[in-house]
């Protein structure tokens, strides 16, 4: 089950891509940055632990830069 550490380059690419959108699904990120989805999932896991990205559940689960999507006013 152990998947090892994420590739730092993939993590950078994920952050760079998330900077350009409000939120995205990891499958969509993988397609956009041309990286296998499993690697993106792993990168997102570490980025979430580092408090750089967060998960959001709005009818399905998205990923976004931490704090980018605000609670409803």
């Amino acid at each position: 089950m152990e998947k090892g550490p994420a590739n730092p380059e993939v993590k950078e690419k994920v952050l760079a891509y998330l900077d350009t959108v409000e939120k995205a699904k990891s499958k969509e990120i993988a397609a956009k940055i041309s990286v296998p989805k499993a690697d993106v999932d792993l990168a997102v896991k570490e980025l979430a632990m580092e408090d750089k990205v967060e998960y959001l559940y709005i009818t399905t689960t998205f990923v976004a830069l931490k704090g980018k999507v605000k609670p409803p006013q």
């Binding site: 499958k27 989805k37 559940y57 689960t61 998205f62 609670p71």
Partner: protein, 395 residues
Amino acid sequence: MPDKKTPKLDELEHGPWPSFVTEIKKAAVRNESAKDLLNLLERSYDDKRGHWKHGGIVGVRGYGGGVIGRYTDLPEEYPHVAEFHTMRVNAPSAWFYKTETLRTLCDIWEKHGSGLTNVHGSTGDLIFLGMKTEELQTTYDELSDAGFDLGGSGSCLRSPSCCVGPARCESACYDTLDVCYDLTSSYQDELHRPMWPYKFKFKMSGCANDCVAAIARADCSIIGTWRDSIRIDQDQVKAYAESGLDIQGMVCDKCPTRALKYDHEKKELHVIAEDCSRCMHCINVMPKAVRPGKEKGATILLGGKSTIVQSAFLSWVIVPFMKMEPPYTELKEMVAKIWDWWDENGKTRERLGELIYRMGMTKFLREVGLPPVPQMVFRPRANPYVFWPQDEIVK
């Protein structure tokens, strides 16, 4: 401010059934958000509409689920429920507790939230109902230190749940509690960090009575069964007969396959083993006299889901019989292939059952490497429109 009146809700404190209003009031004695919840609910009873908004917030550090974000749309009037999130606490297999375990949960929840719970929510998790955003992390930390963890929410594996199984049921054909605990432990990433098109649920029932409604509620339903024949204890059959049970009428005539023959003279019950479809009826009526066979395992069914979008589906058979022995390698290898296929092909918010329906069962079976067997269908297709694979065509 004087306490507001709640005449409508007060009506629901009358009557013999225990009242949730009384419960909210108990919590409201100590907690301002429980008090505001009561008042807000009275408002809904007046307005005939809900007063909640959904927010995307899902969890605590490292988690992609376990929290449902909730905000009232009337924060000025009900400030203590301006944020009123739910936390899902992953329950032990088959919901067994020691009182000390429950007290620990109560103590944590008394400190950090409304003091209101669902035991349990429909997800199978124990629900902490109503907390502020700032309390999420500290509550989690205390839960984790006390040996608890969050359940799933979002496009992830949801908390598996199971029937009481071998812990207290003579019908159990495999260890539902262990499978539930083993899968939950093995799939922590899938449970806590959503990565799929949509949610995925496992539910385990130890026999075809399906006490946790696995067939109706789970993408993967694991239902206990046996391969050989039911076992009949003729002494006990006689005892039932003498106690006045109408064995012909209540057992044989209701057997869906007419597989049971009752001999009135000898007071003996016989089964035509190859005709029995393992429905559990005779065992339910005469538990002392009839038991499942000895060669036990489970049927694996896929695709169950609720009505959104394509109508609700009941799960259908994909493996008629699988041995269920730890570490459940056969099951896990199959599940891994199925998840990959779904993740690869599924559209956003497409449940596994809908995807199989859209792509075709035969394509699914071929791509995940499962052999077609007649137990998968009630009856074969009536049309001849077979999409023949190219490699089976003479060129």
